[in-house]
Amino acid sequence: MVHLIANLLQQALGAVGLSGFAFIINPIVSAVVMFGGISVFVMFLVWMERKVSAHMQSRIGPNRVGVFGLLQTVADALKLTTKEDIKPVHRDKIPYYIAPIIAFVATFAGMIVIPFDKGVSVQNLNIGILYVISITSFTVIAILSAGWSSNNKFALLGGFRSAAQIVSYEVPLVMSLVPVIMTAGTLNLNNVVEYQQKAGYWFVVPQFIAFLIFITSATAEANRAPFDIPEAESELIGGFHTEYSGVKFAMFFLGEYIAIIVSSAVAVTVFLGGWLPLPFLGSLPIPGFAWFVAKLLFVIYLIMAFRWTFPRLRVDQLMDFGWKVLIPISILNILITGFCILFFGKGV
């Protein structure tokens, strides 16, 4: 369907004599389609989060708007877009406006290399894993800009903490992926899944420690509980987005959920076999896309469950945990994997 629309638009461009720009049509169409899908999915996730938290606290959760409260998020989104946009007077204008855009675009751009099914991704990059990691690292700049430009000490402190946390936890995040890259011998997300198919196992089995590190670091990267110090409402009001409201706040909010989706998608692809069916269920007539979404929801559910399971860490505990526990373990993991590859060949 994407290709159909793209073809139509390319022909239209050719008709008005701008066929030179035809090569940008495909990405734009893909982006629009992706944006639509992702927005709907995020709305679902927000509802899901509320339901999960309600479940864990023995509550009912949203149940008034729509069936099971499914339209609650739609209503919230409408409310956000129509709210008055309150702006601090002494804000630093350029960073203030740019920050939410970067936060949203950077995480959203991470989506384009995720393979939803065999060969189905916007761009099949050879260095997909690296691309996801690098493009999502833009969020740090967004957060720092937001915290800085709001001219508010709580926002600034929140931004600082958040940036420090993201930079710190990016190291174990990358390092937990290295053993998989070493074993599979590729940075291409499609090829990683194909390797798992060929090898007959998912990487979560030999690299369970790496999987745990990845999930933990991804949670911290997304500033989610129990690593949500930067946004701890009880301590820092709202963190770096304290001074944001309306659509700009919505973009931050959206960005955060997309970050969770991207991280979980990478986890699913790398550790949980991506679009591959569950063992012994390969013969069922279920498309790969469905398997992918199911696994994605499972990982997201895990991350949401964390929020209501663990208490919040203190700042020094958080840093200690990142630098003194996760990084050494992941380095050791790389070392052991390297030795295994050296001694037993690639089939680890």
């Binding site: 030179g20 720009f21 090569f23 630093d92 350029i94 960073p95 740019i98 990059l125 050879n126 260095i127 690296l130 691309y131 990691i133 690098s134 493009i135 690292s137 833009f138 740090v140 700049i141 720092l144 800009s145 800085w148 600034l156 600082f160 940036a163 930079v167 990016e170 011998g185 940075l187």
Partner: protein, 184 residues
């Protein structure tokens, strides 16, 4: 038309670089620095070095710029005062920078590239050649080839690679030692 995008990126790089060195607000400077770096990674993409482009984004935008922003924020109270941001040798500096630029242009102008008769002057000519001297190491597996080149023991850069590792380690330790507060 892809050329247009290249010139657009080049324009962005030059403008933001100029803003980096002239803006009064250091934080804005850092943001434009990030933009310039991002543009440079785009230039890398034009040269078909995807891996290096991503590494450029990861290191420069994700790490160095963030580091610089941290530095700015940790030393911020000198930023907003009304003292001059430029030093006393601005005039001489303009002359020196202009001289360097001029002689570089003139040097490039005297080089073989300017003649346009070298077979590898433009990419178009390269691809138009009957058997382009493009080894398989580039393109599909350029990460693999680059890694091999870095650690290949014979005639590779294995020693430099190890040396850079040691340098990084010592920079890490050194930075911590220099920046930490003396215990009172």
């Amino acid at each position: 038309m892809a050329n247009t995008i290249f010139y657009l990126i080049a324009g962005i790089i030059i403008c933001s670089a100029f803003l980096v060195v002239t803006l009064r607000n250091l934080f804005h400077c850092a943001l434009f620095l990030a933009l310039a770096m991002f543009g440079v990674s785009g230039v890398f993409l034009f040269l078909n070095f995807e891996f290096l482009a991503i590494v450029q984004v990861l290191i420069y935008v994700g790490a160095v710029t963030v580091l610089i922003i941290f530095g700015i924020m940790l030393t911020r109270n000198v930023m907003d005062d009304k003292t001059r941001v430029l030093n006393k040798q601005v005039f001489l500096a303009i002359i020196a920078a202009a001289a360097v630029m001029t002689i570089s242009f003139s040097a490039v102008g005297k080089s073989v590239f300017f003649e346009g008769d070298h077979p590898t002057i433009t990419m178009a000519e390269t691809s138009a050649a009957p058997d382009p001297p493009k080894p398989s190491s580039l393109g599909q597996n350029d990460v693999y080839a680059l890694g091999l080149e870095l650690i290949r023991p014979e005639k590779g850069y294995a020693f430099s690679f190890e040396f850079v590792s040691v340098l990084l380690l010592s920079a890490l330790v050194g930075a911590i030692v220099v920046a930490r507060k003396e215990k009172s």
